[in-house]
Symmetry: C2
Subunit: 260 residues, 2 copies
Amino acid sequence: MSQLQRLTIADSQIQESQISLTAEQSHYLSRVLRLKQGDRFIVLAPHGQGWLAELMPAEVSQQSWIGKILEPVVERTELPIAITLMVALPKGNGLDEVVRQAAELGVTCIAPVVSDRTLLHPSPQKLDRWRRIAQEATEQSERQFVPSILEPVSFMDSLQREVALEQSHAAFLCVTRLASPHLLSCLLSPPSGAIPTTSITIAIGPEGGWTEAEVAQAIDAGFQPVSLGRRIFRAVTAPLVALSLVAAAQEFDSNPTQKV
Amino acid sequence: MSQLQRLTIADSQIQESQISLTAEQSHYLSRVLRLKQGDRFIVLAPHGQGWLAELMPAEVSQQSWIGKILEPVVERTELPIAITLMVALPKGNGLDEVVRQAAELGVTCIAPVVSDRTLLHPSPQKLDRWRRIAQEATEQSERQFVPSILEPVSFMDSLQREVALEQSHAAFLCVTRLASPHLLSCLLSPPSGAIPTTSITIAIGPEGGWTEAEVAQAIDAGFQPVSLGRRIFRAVTAPLVALSLVAAAQEFDSNPTQKV
């Protein structure tokens, strides 16, 4: 299955047992990848469903192609919890690589935020660019689900979204130089009596970290301050360290010899 | 302490209670950072020693400066074990970012290897470039120790170096699509009776992974095959995930409430 091309589609492209392809997708499969009639590929719908499909000429035009759905594809590369990465916008194009790697690592949603120390406000074109990168990374990493990228908002507005969340939600604010527990400690040893976590938000600050006021606001909104270790990470590295730990804490097996 | 400029020096620059500065370092501190006589900075020697120093004019020339050693600096940002990242050379300039992030994450040594699926052989200039990047990243991330970067060798030659290592050494080969235990499982639950680990090698393959022959050779050399989870990472992301887990497994505290 790993050799097959993966294509993300919109819900509107699914028509009974067929997938209509955009002109761009049709061109990509037939001309760039040189797939022929009957060749197989995988289509991924926005909510994580996937199908094995085969390439067929469209009846309406000899130039275009459709996908005939053969069977659903059930893969299990998604994490069992929803992970939101709340990330202060880094300098320049720094978020491009964060989006790409976070998508590989299994993130569900990326919420860029403008913090007190954020220097630049993003242009609207950036959002389209990040969404395209997330889609590409999803296909390459063989996930079923394309992470959503929210419009950048202020850190305060972003915190408001957290306050209303369920008790099964856990929120962590990564801080430096504070006597905070390690993120991995919190992930592996939740407070006794806690409701099992089904969603996690991880907030990562800008270069220079969150301001004291921001840390206080986040704690008010229910965030647990955590450490990522003794070293100082760049703003583009910290999200990946945190997501690596969240994913591993889910997939880690305390009895490795029984793993199949 | 975090505000002070950090400068890595060679052992030969240490002369009793003084640090001689290269013309470039002298220019950087006095002209670029505009430090004045008596301003303080931190110098880091190759083996992890650090000193607080203050800028003084050199007696021999009015244009140049020396550092007067004030006191040793004891910081504890280094991990308590030695970590070697054995990494198959990725495409293009991919290793640049791996070196930068691995240095941030606390790696001790990076051993680039040429694997069966490595496309390009690196030019000698690359090695200088990687060493410069490692040094910059060490200064930025406030570590005491600049990771060494070995000359690229074949994977087989690199495995030979492992065979001779002590029993307190653990070696992990990251593989995809194999029923291998998760790296975090192995890190947190070593085999009972095992000698405590003082050094770890993590081997990360190229795009497309190690060949079957390479996996077999590594197992013969004492490597444990491990998984980094269900998703497929690019060759430049996998090292970061693995090193995040190795570092966290060292610094993680199973009883977070008692952490100071």
